[in-house]
Subunit: 307 residues, 2 copies
């Protein structure tokens, strides 16, 4: 069935990913937008200052996608679900685990779809890596996810305010890939989080998972130069590497895939498919690992961070 979509939050990620991806999907039309920024409009879609006004004016809208920051998302998501709309959430799906549980209950009560999206899971090599690993015995799973926050969030002080995760904003992507690939769930054994002395969120994090295999993650937001988003996998029957955030997968036999980014197109196709079959998809495991890291992690203080 065709869906009339409204997009809330017309910022960088909306322009770069959501809007072109929506346009590329059959059965999905962007009919309305909501943004606090009045200049943030999209050709062909009616612009509203907020979701409440949008919902009141456009009852033809059947689905809502929220691309606002996680701290601002709960109220809109709840209002959309209560209005009987299908809802898709950017990652991470909220600023607390508890609020997402409330959204799940509401979606079930309304009989609508709630989709907590994890875009990195749609990178071309992820399912391939999962299938490659499945029949093998894992010995090492080493995540290295480093980038320069000055490139990715230039001058955005909000990333350093409590509740906005710091380096885990990038790290959730790695954890969403990890949880999609590993054949069985794992949990953290220990973690170290480094907080710049003038900031409220960590700039680096090191995680060690409880497993007979060595499963670790190193997140660093202070690496100049190109982002390095990689997972090295070793097994008793060969090794493999997932790089470029999951877009490239290679084994001892060579490169298996190295694709252009189509993550958000796949997300919107998934959202449509979930609506069609009347299902929810809310996997909190990546965010739960982040919460667990804050819960049991040791905090160390490091040099102040300045842009």
């Amino acid at each position: 069935m065709s869906q009339s979509l409204a997009l809330v939050g017309i910022g960088k990620i909306a322009r770069k990913q959501h809007i072109p991806s929506i346009a590329a999907i059959d059965g999905l039309s962007l009919v309305a937008t909501a943004s606090r920024n009045r200049a943030a409009t999209v050709d062909g879609a009616e612009a509203f200052p907020d979701l409440t006004t949008l919902l009141a004016a456009r009852d033809d809208v059947t689905a809502i996608s929220l691309a606002t920051p996680p701290g601002a998302r709960f109220g809109d998501a709840l209002a959309a679900l209560r209005a009987g709309k299908h809802v898709m959430l950017e990652k991470p799906p909220g600023s607390t685990l508890s609020e997402v549980e409330t959204l799940v209950s509401e979606a079930k009560a309304q009989g609508v779809t709630l989709f907590a999206s994890w875009h990195s899971r749609e990178a071309a090599g992820v399912k391939m890596a999962r299938d490659w690993l499945k029949p093998r015995r894992l010995t090492t799973f080493r995540i290295t996810w480093t980038e320069d926050v000055r490139d990715w969030h230039p001058g955005q002080d909000w990333v350093w305010s409590a509740g906005n995760l710091g380096v885990f904003d990038a790290g959730t992507n790695a954890l969403s890939v990890m949880t999609a690939i590993l054949p069985a769930p794992v949990h953290l054994a220990s973690a170290t989080l480094a907080f710049p002395e003038n900031r409220d969120t960590p700039i680096t994090a090191d995680l060690v998972f409880d497993s007979p295999a060595e499963i670790t993650a190193h997140f660093d937001w202070s690496q100049p130069g190109d982002a390095h988003w990689a997972i090295e996998i070793e097994t008793t029957d060969g090794a493999a590497r997932l790089t470029r955030g999951g877009a490239r997968f290679e084994t001892d036999d060579g490169v298996k895939v190295d694709a252009e980014d189509a993550e958000y197109k796949r997300l919107y196709a998934n959202f449509l498919a979930l609506i069609d079959v009347g299902r929810l998809d809310v996997d909190l495991s990546p965010m739960r690992h982040v919460a667990d890291a804050f819960l049991l992690g040791r905090r160390v203080q490091v040099a102040p961070f300045h842009w």
Copy 2:
């Protein structure tokens, strides 16, 4: 059906609460114990150095209760479930949320009972407070949970090591009561956690929940004198107070109950009832609020803590 129980972790809480409560329950016999401390034995129960040895020697055991600290509990819980035993966990049920999810999956796969206990929920006034609040409109729900860590954990440095929650060790009790009383789930809006500069866990915490009512919690581990475990409830139709950790409940009409502690007796009765009907009871909501508080809380550093 009668259960042959083994108790793992023979420390202060086992002697004070678990062992006398088990003895008071019909249909439950303590047949074995496991403790790293060889001197920690219980009359009438066979003593083992660890759960693995116990499971190998006593296949008559049908249920296992774990009173060890949360950090040491996962391996034992998993081994007990895999051996087909019913399992009861002290609070909090683990040191990560993710590990408890794994235990739930394992219990379902084995078809056995897993009971994540929250002893404060069994205090005499809790259900009364819930029923009193149900038909009323809440305006204020103010939790004040203060005690002196020097009284409750004298010299126990482990409470200050990362992963052991600090003041939330007591605060989870309050949150387990809150989640049992409020008519609908809530989630945190903000939190402030104060860490002594020489310690890895917080000594005080202030929580504000997102709600049209004022829902707050103040936890403090540095209050000399008697513990003060209270919840003040105000509604548009009268006020009430739950004190003594939930054992005493009073409204504008006077004291409704002020009972002796029978929390652990009720826990073991619940455990037996769950086994009889073949069900699990794992409500993670109190622990999820703690994880959320660490996730979005602002950290402040306060004076060093010395015993």
